[in-house]
Amino acid sequence: MAIVVNLDVMLAKRKMQVKELSAIVDVSVVNLSILKQSKAKAIRFSTLEAICKALDCQPGDILEFVDDTNT
């Protein structure tokens, strides 16, 4: 997957559990887990905004592009 979601890294930095983030951003634990594993098909800007607000970070802290064409 070319876009990697580093949500677990930010959660660890902010010492927050997935359950807690789920309650704040109103996204289910299941969906956050799918997002964490980079298995989501897309993310809404509203969701990204809510996550960045809750974790006090930038979208670039959550999303990372990995060029996997040469692997």
Binding site: S28, V30, N31, S33, I34, K39, K41, A42
Partner: protein, 167 residues
């Protein structure tokens, strides 16, 4: 097409009256209809449990129509199980029974005067390449033809599932 069960009910009623008229006996037409009506009643009583999955999916059960589909996902099996339950709860389907140990889900469409409804059996399995397979079987509760409802159920489920992956 959803009016077919209503039409069948009316046809059964008319046939009952015709047989009753020509035979003069009430028990003869009742005997004719007791098997299909009895089957429908039994199916409606046992439809909500995974325990009777083999009854509905048996190839010997020729009075039901079944359609099977398969799709793959990269989401892990345990997570996919919870995800599919979430999708079903937010869709037109009714969640009837689940078994987390064997990763099986049973959901259905509602029964009303116009349609008998369908049962949908979902089985999740992990593949060797770490992807996950979703086996989807939609079966009527009565009738050898679903009038494309089985296919529509699958397409509706897949559409809901794909939409739900936009978070």
């Amino acid at each position: 097409m959803n009016k077919v069960p209503l039409l069948f009910t009316l046809i059964f009623f008319v046939l009952y009256k015709v047989i009753n008229h020509y035979t003069g006996e009430t028990w003869i037409p009742l005997l004719v209809f007791v098997v299909p009506v009895g089957l429908l009643i039994v199916n409606l009583m046992i439809r909500k449990s995974l325990r009777y999955k083999s009854w509905f999916l048996s190839s010997l059960n020729i009075l039901l129509e079944r359609k099977s589909y398969s799709t793959k996902s990269e989401i892990s099996a345990d997570l996919l199980f919870d995800k599919i339950i979430e999708v079903i709860q937010e869709s037109e389907f009714q969640l009837l029974d689940t078994d987390k140990d064997s990763l099986r889900i049973l959901c259905g469409t509602s029964t009303n005067f116009l349609t008998w409804g369908e049962n949908i059996y979902i089985q999740i399995e992990t593949n060797e390449d770490d992807t996950t397979s979703i086996q989807f079987v939609s079966t009527t509760l009565f009738g050898g033809s679903s009038w494309k409802r089985n296919q529509n159920n699958y397409e509706s489920f897949i559409a809901s599932f794909e939409d739900s992956l936009t978070i």
